[in-house]
Symmetry: C2
Subunit: 140 residues, 2 copies
């Protein structure tokens, strides 16, 4: 992927990145930054996805979550087909500004997951088998 021109500031020193008040996001070698999406009401993590600079800019300017699909290799607005749009209530970045956390509002009966589940994280790992066997999942 070719890097696209963006309005985001260039990276500064470690002190500027960690303590500063200028957004200086770090996109990885593929031009992407990881985005954690949680439900603004319940606090549940709904999904995990990736953004390129354009997806992040569109999310900021429209208030609707946009991502970069690695499998389809294209920009997408979450819910553009399913109607399950994610309205952003807050966006945060972390200490080294290489991850994004979106708090979003999803309709009460909405599904953030393409499987129809409200959250993509609908299965819990069971305790590991001490003998080194596989790990089972159960519905959350």
């Amino acid at each position: 992927m070719v890097a696209e021109p963006t309005a985001f500031a260039a990276r500064g020193t470690t002190a500027e990145v960690e303590q500063g008040l200028v957004f200086q996001p770090l996109f990885n070698a593929d031009g992407l930054i990881p985005a954690i999406v949680s439900d603004a009401q319940s606090g549940d993590v709904l999904m995990f996805a990736w953004m390129n600079p354009t997806a992040l800019q569109l999310t900021l300017s429209t208030g609707l979550a946009h991502f970069w699909s690695r499998s389809r290799r294209r920009l997408w607005q979450k819910g553009e087909e399913s109607g399950n749009v994610l309205r952003v209530s807050e966006i945060r970045t972390d200490c080294d500004q290489d991850a994004i956390w979106l708090k979003v509002v999803l309709a009460p009966a909405g599904a953030a997951c393409h499987t129809g589940n409200r959250s993509c994280f609908y299965r819990v790992l069971t305790p590991a088998d001490p003998a080194g066997g596989g790990v089972a999942l159960k519905r959350a």
Copy 2:
């Protein structure tokens, strides 16, 4: 990084990965899986990090969060130096089993972030400048 032998099951079909009850995690080309860490009490996202198979196995077997440090290129138990250990109360995976969500218990006055903040996500992005200027941050 060379893939290490693990107790995790091999990937199955899409239906098995999405609907099955066998944990079949997908590690990326670097042998890592992204891990979202949230506070089991408040629901706040505390940090975002990466796990290799060994870190994930140790997290499952000890109940304490372990990660792979990409910068230091080594396994680490969170809090091994700072004392800010993260006790895992639940581990989930997502629909395509390529991300992990840990709900953890952190001491009331504990800091998950090396900067001393409880959460690494201590700054909020302000609305984008319509003229395309930079994006400012403010303390959460």
